[in-house]
Symmetry: C2
Subunit: 575 residues, 2 copies
Amino acid sequence: MDQLPKRASNYVPLSPVGFLPRANAVYGDRTSVVYGRVRFTWSQTYARCRRLASSLLALGVRNNDVVSVLAPNVPAMYEMHFAVPMAGAVLNTINTRLDAKAVAGILRHSEAKLFFVDYQYVRLASDALQLVADEGKPVPLVAVIDDIDMPTGVRLGELEYEELVARGHPAVELPQLTDEWDAVTLNYTSGTTSAPKGVVYSHRGAYLSTMSLLMSWGVGNEPVYLWTLPMFHCNGWTFTWGMAARGGVNVCIREARAADIYRAIARHGVTHLCCAPVVFNILLEGDAAATQLAAPVHVLTGGAPPPAALLERVERIGFRVTHAYGLTEATGPALACEWREQWDRLPLPERARLKARQGVSVLSLADADVKDAKTMASVPRDGKTIGEIVLRGSSIMKGYLKNPAANNDAFKGEWFLTGDVGVVHTDGYIEIKDRSKDVIISGGENICSKEVEEVLFNHPAVADVAVVAMPHPHWGETPCAFVVAKDRAAGVCEDDVIAFCRKHMPRFMVPKKVVVYDVIPRNGNGKVEKNMLREAASKLAPEQKTKVNKTTNTTTVGGRRGEHPVAHVMAVSRL
Amino acid sequence: MDQLPKRASNYVPLSPVGFLPRANAVYGDRTSVVYGRVRFTWSQTYARCRRLASSLLALGVRNNDVVSVLAPNVPAMYEMHFAVPMAGAVLNTINTRLDAKAVAGILRHSEAKLFFVDYQYVRLASDALQLVADEGKPVPLVAVIDDIDMPTGVRLGELEYEELVARGHPAVELPQLTDEWDAVTLNYTSGTTSAPKGVVYSHRGAYLSTMSLLMSWGVGNEPVYLWTLPMFHCNGWTFTWGMAARGGVNVCIREARAADIYRAIARHGVTHLCCAPVVFNILLEGDAAATQLAAPVHVLTGGAPPPAALLERVERIGFRVTHAYGLTEATGPALACEWREQWDRLPLPERARLKARQGVSVLSLADADVKDAKTMASVPRDGKTIGEIVLRGSSIMKGYLKNPAANNDAFKGEWFLTGDVGVVHTDGYIEIKDRSKDVIISGGENICSKEVEEVLFNHPAVADVAVVAMPHPHWGETPCAFVVAKDRAAGVCEDDVIAFCRKHMPRFMVPKKVVVYDVIPRNGNGKVEKNMLREAASKLAPEQKTKVNKTTNTTTVGGRRGEHPVAHVMAVSRL
């Protein structure tokens, strides 16, 4: 075979940013972004991004500099997904639900050079900046994003987003990407269980993820995409770039409120939206359940599977739900529950059961598997044997920023370890069972806390629930349930709950302790603060003289957990 | 930014061959290939490919060795698209319509180590092998592919495909791909106008093309794909690999005959097929035009746009046609006419006009443009100004095998030159007008031979037509038309044709000569042998004392053509 060289014409670095110039060329006259009374075409979006990129260069932003942003789903947030990398810089989107301390931590760790702040978050940002300054650390340059539809005049320093766009020039030459392995964005994990980690995506990984998620979800030509999922979650599961690839319409709203969602669907003919399952409850608020969408809206959801009854109600309105599983570290969804036509003929509960599975690997992954973490052997396809979900492929992050320990724990030879445990069904579809750290090992048996929780959710007096491990002198660990009463006055009776559990689950899974709380503690992303509950449970534990050495436990998950420091199993965070 | 290293877990070489192990894992129980009474699942196809790959290794096939195959669309041909690269080798599919001399030329040039021959082509293959042997060149090892459904016993030497599959072992360790730039296949151009050139695809390019063609055509989950397009054309426009990516069904048939096509559609619920426009005539044979498909069948077609009337008849049966443009050098389709919903409301002739355009670049291309070949400036988007179509992106071939001159001509800085000329419409959609070498330069005016041909096709007495340049002492060149009469007895009158042209085109475009032929010479791919016609035309040219120096011509295409050797403009071949 000839040693044919790579050329500028046949080896172009893969980058999702390249979808924008293409959109300008081939979808130029189509609508790109809608927000309130503001509407742009793809040509305008391209010109605006080029203008902003040239302004960033003029401000001194250089290759690999980090540009942070704290903003909801407004047009500026969308544009920065292209403009920042077009200036050679790395976009760091910050979760707007964090507190000042967490924001300051990210600004410090990322060494952000420039910090864009939506006018709504000026207070949070200035508190965070103060914390950075107090430590004597360098403070980034700040630019406010005023509301583009209804300017408020709120400022934090000199710079404003629209002024930077206006001041820039679309014809300025921008740096060329020469290496597709270069960083494109930096996304911090939510840090439920450990310090947030900075997840770095390469241009290559983001390009491949964008392509394969459009495929897995079957997004066709001319989608109208509603931004309910925050763009700061894995860059909107890559659909920021994906809409440019398909010449779609980005319908931007500040908040995912039911009224705004239904108004946007009706006004703009929304075809697609992504959301956490918690948004399903929002969609069903008030008399929404009685409405009927004029045309089906495709919904991609991640995280915990919605209960069948909820799914049924949402689908009856006209939403078509696809379930996915992903992690920040996998550039968003890594598994998606590809629907099979033959399942259409099944009764709804069966359909919901199949749909609740997280599914099969997206096309950018070379492989996804569930493995015995000790032997790294694949578990049998029996829908029962649990193991750790492991992934491999070019859409996995470059790594954690400045965190070699976390990188060493997360990457193991050919595999990236997700820290989630699951099973493989006979048809090859994977179902998540738990975080590996949330598995309870009781007398050598692995108990998925999620399974116990699912049963408890069916208890008529229980509104909310979380189950964690409680140390136990005999069993090593045993489940401890925290429950919230539907009717606070009536409360919940511990014995009644335990009796209910005995009826609906194997004896070894039944919680030995039930604690009634007013509310289950959750973080800004709606994730249960299980570390906090584990601490509470350990104080409730029966008299315990010596700590059981868990490394003696020979079961799959426990064994692995025993061998690795706790830092390991925190190395991943779900969507 | 951290210098995060590439790891085995997050940097996996891109390869379309990887879609097969994934299909085994996630679509294992679904049908992969159907042929006559033979039916395989994806698990079986995977196991068979692994077996064959191990047998290839046992036969001594090594990394980068070329394995040639001469076969129609049978299961073996499909499997070899995976099994050959799985053994580290390069698959070379040979057009079954070539003669022994051309086949021998390919075997020699590619230095094939192993040569698989379908039983139907044993005669052609043995003639070709004899020619290779006669020259004293090394002769490849030969294996016959007997019919898997109805074995014939025909052999050519010792080896037989099914025996090699049976003899292999699915558990043998296969070589790992380490560089995505490695060659995966080798496809020879048809050589209408020059010696065939060996086009080398990389794993990377083929992977990206597969992904983006599935997207451009909107191929969803569970497609049922009918193999009407020969797999030896750009590896079936990458849908060989694409069906594994989507877990589709490959319906294999030996020949694209109307009866076989309609039977397959009815029996297997075909959803997609690709074909050259000439197959449209096959689809309309007999009383087919009166039939109605039970469900729509999506058709992707390339090459010359089908006339509106033909398109209308085919669509009325239930075929949904998408038009594309591609070249062997671009791994198949490079532009596809993405449909816009708003066009649905237009009258049919207008829809046909829009649909006949070749469209917008597929997502694996970084850019596609139409440029003044002299200045390399983009032509205005006026639908009129012609220029050369140029492409750039990672789905462009690695290059021509052992042909530095052709590589130098085809690659120009950032661009790959297609040798086709076209226009860009105001909406950014590209329309091909001609091969640049088929443009006729008459008195400084560019005449697209296709435009003249289109007018002549409307002449009531003309059945077929081809227009080429004829040297002219005054104008430099002038069009010369070759026509075939609908009614051979009645014939066609030259003066009448010229008068018709004067009515329907600008004076300078009117052919100065009309020649009546019994048949227009076409090669095995149905492409007009324009070189042959040019030679005939030059003999008919008016008295010509001195040859006009074409480099003095200052128009776009002519000027460029003057600068480059003729070899250049032959550097591409359309699908």
